[in-house]
Every structure is written in C-alpha cells, then in structure tokens.
C-alpha cells in the first residue's frame, strides 16, 4: 500500500469506531472499548508505518508524502484538499498516535471497567461507589462508559485529520471537530452544573479565537486563491503577501493573516487573554484532561502556527506580538500555578505556561525548538495528567473506605505519603515532573527547554530569555511543591492512608509515556553541546528540513546552559525545601489571594463581557426588541385590525346594516303595518267613508286629466 493511501486511511478507524459505538455497541461496555482501542491501534499502526517510512525518506521536506483531490469547483479552478506528511507532520503524527493509544487504554481502567454498577449511580454524574458482596464500598463503573469511548474516538478522528491535512480548510475542520469533542467531554458529567458551565465557557472562549482564525483563512484565500500549503508557501506567493500593505496597524498582508491565525491559537492553546477556559476544563474526566488539554488539542494551536511559520515570520511586528504573548502567558500562568491546591489545576496552569514557552519560542524565530518542545511536552504532560488521575483514583479508594465524602480527593493538602502506597505512580510522576522542570541531561524537557533558551538568547531577545528563565524557575518550584505535597512525607488524612495502586490498564500507559519522557530528548541533543562535537541533532536536521531554508542550529552558550541548570535544579530544591514540612494550607506562604484567584480575570471577564452579553440577549434583544418592538408591531397590527373591525362593526355594520336596513326594514314594515292596521277596523261605515273619499279623489283626478288637460 502506498504511503499516501495509508495517510488517507489513518483518520478512518476512529470515525468508524465512533459510528459503530453510537449505533450498535452502546449497551455493551466491553465491545465499545474493544472497538475504540482497536481503532486507535489501527491508526497507531498506520502512523508508525508512515513515520518509519518518513524517517527513511531523504529530502522529505522538499518532497513530502502528498496526495490531493479536486473538491470544490470554483470559477476557473478547483479548491483542492488532500494529505501531506512532511518531517514536522511525521513527528507530530508520531506523538499523537502514541498519546492517543495510551490514553484510550488508560480510560478502560479509569472508568472502572469490571467493577460492579453503582448503588445510586446516575448517567450524567460521576460514579459514586458500589457495595460489593462483602459489604465493602468499592469503586463503581461509569454508567456512560460507551459514550466516553465514542466521543474520544471522534476526537481522535479530528486530531488525525488536522495532522494529515495539507490545507487550511481540512485543518480547520479537524480543529472544529476537536472543539466540539472538547465541549462534549468537558461536559461529560452533564448533571454537574459546574461541568456544564465549564463546557460552555471552553467552547465560547475558543470560538472567539476561531472567528478571527476564520477571518485569517478567508483573507488568505482571497489573497492567494488557494488554501493548500504547497500553494501558499511558494516563494513568489510569500513575497507578494509580504509586500502588500494592509490598513491595520501597518501590517503587511502576511502579517495580518499571521496575526489573525495566531488569535485562533490564542483561543485554542489557552494563551493570555483567552486562557480562562483551560483550568475550568479540568471538570472533565482525567483522560480527557490528559488528551485534549495537554497532549493534543491545545497542541493543535501551536501546531498550526508552527505549520504557518513561513507565512508568519514574514512580518516582524506579528512575530513580536507572538513572542510577547507567549512570554507573558508563560510567566503569568506560572505565578498562578504556585498558589493552586487542586492537583489538576496546577497541571492546567502548567500547560498554559508551557504552551506559552512554545509560542514564545516561535515568536523569536526558533522553529525547531518550538516543535521539539511541542513533542516532548505532549509526552510528559500526558504522563503527568494520567499520573494525577491515578493519584485521584487512589484517593477515591480511601474516600470509599472511610465513607467521608466531604474530603476532596483532588486537594493536595489531603494527600501525602502516597510514595509508599502507590509506588509506580510515584516514580512515573516523578519522571514526568522532572521532565517538566527540565532536570538536566536525563529528561526530555531539559533538552527542549534548553533549545528554547538558546533560541531566545542567541537571537538577541534578552527580555524573552530572562522572563522565560524566571518562568522555568517557577515551573520547577511548583512542580516540586506538587510532588512533595502529594507523595512525600506522611499521609495527612485517613483517605491518604488507605489509598492503593491502580490497575494495570492505568499503570502501563504511565510507564510507556515515562520511557518517552526520558528518551525522546536524546534525539535532539545539539551538535555542539558542551563544546563537544557530536552528531548533528537528528531532530533538528529532520524537522528543520520542513522549511524551505534549513535553519541553523543555535550555537552552544555556557550562559544558557548555566541558566538552565540553575533554574531547574534550584527550583526543584527550593520547592522541596519549602514544602517538606507543610501540612496545612495555612502554613503555605504562597497562598496569596491574588494568585489563588487567578488575578481575578474570571471576575473581570464576567463583568466586562459575560454580564453585558446576557443583558444584551435577555433584556435588549428579548425584552425590548423581540417582545417590545417586534411583538409590539405585531400587536399593533392586531389592535389596528381589531380597531378597524370594531369601527366597522359599531359605526357601519350595526347602525347602518343591522338597524337601518335589517331592523329598519322590519321596523318600517311593522310601523306601517301597525299604523295601517286600524284602517281595517271592522266598522263598515268607516270602510264606506274611506272608499268614498278615494272615489271622489279619483273622480277629481280623472276629471282633471281628461277634461281640463
């Protein structure tokens, strides 16, 4: 089978799984997860074959695996859609396939497959525990099990479509499908009001970004007449776009398009100011958080701007904006993360911060660094989320054991000492945490972060470099805080005492992802690391060849290396130091209200955007315009018709037609009859008198007529 055909087929199994589960296997849990995991496996297989072939193809950047068809006929040409795998696409396909498969497998254990059905479980609410035959409370299986697998299969389809497409139209289609699945999955437990609100918030916020992105796509299409990468990235086209000015902010056409597309990324990848949806999205089940909001969907935003780098990099103003927003987001989210107590919230803000790193890297022109961090971050963030899910499951065991449902199994201050209770989770989580912090040499995160630092430093963006360094310090700090509070020390609550390890379907993915979190970094070791003359970084050579002009590797800088070491090790050390004796939130000095409440941005948006929108919809449009104006006009018509009708009735129909003609005729007849009746009195003398008078009158008349005239 040719590679192109295989690439076309990669998104197919998940969408088939979706339809099969929805239509046929909905009732059967085992069959549903088999179909879903089977589909993920098939796509993974296809992706691996394509990846292997891609690695083995020289000059893949110049001649990517590509295939397209004519789809929409436009006036004199066709809008083409198709598939394309160039080097960047190949590495993306790799990590997407792996993380999707691991998370599908994890979901089986997470939703307690094999456990009895709950005592009072309700579809729409998280499972609440069941009583087994010994009277113990055990975790219960998720009532909407098949639905979950259907949705994540649909999501996988969306992501694969986005990765393999060769044009912005199908990329946008995949983007929107993932947005839909994000909504469906955040609101998976739809009976919880907080989940519903979070789902709507996520959808609405990303929609704001999507509108601008669509504008950018439309502008691009109208300027170039095509949406395919191969047509847009031709030198002539890029040159034209770069030289045409637009009236907005003095940007060139390329810059404006780039800016508009970037706004889509701001929404999708939760950059400032559209970051507010991602922490709330933690209402969804943990596999959802791992897949959508760590590894794949939010990565799609960064993937898109990395893909459009040749276009975006044409305008320095746009690049500055991108760098600024990325850097600001990185430090902003990191400061919030240090004050969060929910284990998943910390990771959410961490995700925002790391995406900021990637965006900043791209803004400074470090194409390969951004791509590298994208890949490594997907692995270790997915690992961390799945690990946190495992921790939460363990805590829930404890909650079911003690029966105290007021204890929040997600609050880190209720945990502690889980190192001994859940060892595999601990070690994998530790690996992930170190990767996130950039622990030197051993973890993938170190190598990718180092690349970003070099890129910023060597391209002269010193402010970006320093800010990112501070953000990295905070990253290591809060990561160690999280690990210390969760795993180290002693159990702070009874629930933590009774936690125990989770089943193999949840452990195995953690292990696999941990391997990648460690090993993947080594494919990107820079050539002149530490002054040694090593082989050129495979990753840099491979992914860099996607661009028309291979970017140069950043030269090694001791300053950068030193900074990386200091911030990561220092952050880890201080984090451990500060929190090893903390057991209650009151002892945590960093529980500053400003940070805990996320700088009050949610409240600000509520006042500035949400409330006015509601007012506009409910009061202005509904009450005033719809009910008042439009219904008023209609009522006016009704009243006018009514009025005209009653006027006609009261002033014409009743008096004229009824009384005058109708009753009038009757009355006149009656009146005439009544008044003529006495003529017939029965008295003959009267009759004679009358007839005589008439006779005389007629005689006179005749005489007059016949004689005189």
């Amino acid at each position: 089978m040719t590679t192109e055909t295989l690439i076309w087929l990669i998104p197919l199994p998940p969408i088939l799984a979706f339809f099969l589960i929805v239509l046929f296997t909905n009732r059967n849990k085992a069959l549903s997860h088999t179909v879903a995991i089977g589909a993920a496996l098939l796509s993974w297989l296809g992706a691996m074959i394509v990846f292997v072939r891609a690695i083995g193809t020289p000059d893949l950047g110049k001649t990517p695996f590509a295939s397209f068809i004519n789809w929409i006929p436009t006036a004199d040409t066709w809008l083409k859609i198709g598939v394309q795998i160039d080097p960047f696409g190949a590495v993306t396909l790799f990590f997407v396939a792996w993380t999707v498969l691991m998370i599908f497998l994890y979901s089986v254990g997470y939703h307690n497959y094999g456990q009895p059905a709950g005592d009072h479980d309700h579809p729409g609410l998280p499972p609440h525990g069941a009583t087994d035959e010994h009277g113990h409370q055990v975790p219960s299986v998720e009532p909407m099990y098949s639905r979950f697998f259907a949705f994540i299969s649909l999501f996988a389809f969306g992501m694969f479509t986005l990765v393999v497409s060769d044009n912005l139209l199908t990329l946008f289609a995949g983007w929107e499908i993932m947005g839909l699945c994000s909504y469906l999955l955040i609101g998976f437990w739809y009976a919880k009001p907080s989940a519903r609100a979070a789902a709507v918030k996520a959808f609405m916020t990303t929609r704001v970004g999507d509108v601008f992105m669509l504008l950018g796509i439309a502008f691009l299409y109208s300027a170039t007449g095509s949406l395919s990468y191969r047509d847009i990235f031709q030198a002539q086209v890029l040159h034209t776009l770069a030289s045409v000015p637009t009236p907005i902010f003095g940007l060139s056409a390329a810059g404006l398009i780039g800016l508009l597309l970037f706004i889509g990324t701001i929404g999708k990848s939760a950059q400032f100011p559209l970051h507010v949806w991602l922490p709330d999205a933690m209402e969804g089940p943990t596999p959802v958080s791992a897949m959508i909001h760590a590894a794949t969907m939010v990565s799609a935003g960064v993937y898109m701007i990395i893909r459009m780098f040749p276009l975006i990099s044409l305008d320095p103003k746009t690049m500055t904006v991108i760098a600024f927003i990325g850097t600001f987001t990185a430090i902003f989210a990191a400061t919030i993360a240090v004050a969060q107590n929910d284990i998943k919230r910390v990771l959410a803000y961490s995700t925002i911060s790391q995406l900021g790193f990637m965006v900043a890297a791209l803004g400074t022109g470090a194409y390969v660094a951004a791509a590298f961090h994208l890949v490594t971050h997907a692995f270790f963030k997915a690992l961390l989320f799945l690990g946190s899910g495992s921790v939460i499951h363990g805590m829930e065991h404890g909650v079911l054991h003690t029966g105290d449902h007021n204890v929040d199994p997600q609050n880190m201050f209720n945990m502690g000492g889980l190192r001994k209770k859940m060892p595999i989770t601990f070690w994998t989580f530790l690996i992930g945490g170190f990767a996130l912090s950039g622990f030197p040499l051993l973890t993938a995160g170190f190598w990718s972060k180092d690349e970003i630092f070099s890129g910023a430093f060597n391209n002269g963006h010193l402010i970006v470099f320093i800010t990112l360094a501070v953000a990295a310090f905070l990253t290591a700090f809060y990561t160690m805080r999280q690990i210390t509070l969760t795993f180290l020390g002693g159990p702070r609550t009874k629930e933590a005492e009774h936690a125990h390890e989770t089943p193999w379907t949840m452990i195995a993915p953690l292990v696999v992802l941990a391997i990648f979190a460690i090993g993947y970094g080594w494919v990107g070791i820079p050539q002149d690391f530490l002054g040694l003359h090593l082989n050129p970084s495979w990753f840099h050579e491979f992914v860099g060849s996607t661009l028309a002009v291979m970017p140069a590797e950043s030269p090694f800088s001791w300053i950068v290396f030193g900074t990386s070491l200091v911030v990561s090790l220092g952050g880890l050390f201080f984090g451990w130091l500060a929190y090893r004796n903390v057991s209650v939130p009151e002892q945590d000095k960093l529980q500053i209200p400003l940070l805990k409440n996320k700088y009050y941005f949610d409240e600000l948006y509520n006042v500035v955007f949400i409330k006015p929108s509601y007012w506009f919809a409910e009061t202005f449009v509904y009450q005033w315009v719809d009910k008042g104006l439009i219904d008023g006009v209609l009522h006016l018509f009704g009243k006018a018709a009514n009025g005209i009708g009653s006027i006609i009735r009261n002033y014409f129909d009743l008096p004229v037609i009824n009384r005058f003609f109708g009753d009038g005729t009757a009355h006149v007849t009656q009146w005439v009859g009544k008044n003529l009746r006495p003529i017939q009195s029965g008295r003959i003398q009267q009759y004679m008198l009358v007839s005589l008078i008439v006779l005389l009158a007629i005689a006179g008349l005749l005489y007059y007529l016949l004689v005189i005239v």
Binding site: L689, I693, L696
Partner: protein
Amino acid sequence: MTASQIFFLFVGLVILGSSLMVVTTRNLIHAALWLIVTLFGVAVLYAILNASFLAVVQVVVYIGAIAILFIFAVMLTRKDMRDSGPQLNNGWWLNVIISLLTFGGLFWMLQSWNGFSKAAADFPSNYDAVGQLGKALISPDAFVLPFEVASVLLLAALVGSVYIAFNRK
C-alpha cells in the same frame, strides 16, 4: 212658474225634508215613519212622470212591505223602547262634507252634459204604458230573462233571510 212646477217643488221639499228627518231622528220608529213619508213622495213623483204602474208598485212594495219590515226589525232589535244617546257618529261633520262634495260633484258633472235641461216630450195619448211594460217584461226578445232572474233572486233572498234569522232553540 207653472202649476206643475210649483207642485213639483212642493213634492221635492217633502221628499228632501222627510229624508233629512229619516237620517237625523233619534227615535228609529220615527225614522221608519219618516221613510214612509219619503216613499210616498217618491210615489207621487212617479205619478207625475206618467209611470203609473211604478207609483202603485212603490206604495205596495216599498211602503207596504219594506217599510213594515223595517218597523218589525226595529222592534225586534231594541233592548228597551227608549233610544238614548246620540244617534250620529262622532265624525258626522266629515260625512256632511263628503255628502256635499258628492252632491256638488254629481251636479257639476251633470250640468256639463248638453241634455241637462231638456224639456219633456209630450206623453202620447192612448199610449198604454202599463200594457207595453207588461209586454216588455214577458216577451222573450225583451226583458223576460231579467224578470225571471229577479224572481229567482227574490226566492233566494226569501230562503236566505228565513234561514239567517231563524231562531233555533
């Protein structure tokens, strides 16, 4: 003014005067008696007009039968022998006007007729008016049919009036 004219005027006055009394007296018996006087006057008038048979028939039939019949009827239809209350209707003045108008109208129409004032032709002597009348009444090419029909009419009136006035007990 010749003697006949004076005589005529006298008879005329009698007739008109008695007829006025007929229509104005309260007492109905008196009215019937005045009617007899009027009828007498009319008979005299017939005699002046050389219609001798009619004069006699007038006395015999009209006075002898009809007027008597009237008196009988008056007697049979009285609650008591005295008449009380006015005998004329309320609107009698209008009736006066009508009558005058009728008279006036008749007079006016008649006087425009050119034969209005013609004189009487001499009555031929030896003219057997009665005999001729008898012949006319029974001759088939004259007036026997009306004569017979009149007798049938009288029969019908006889039977009818007997039947109507019959007092069934």
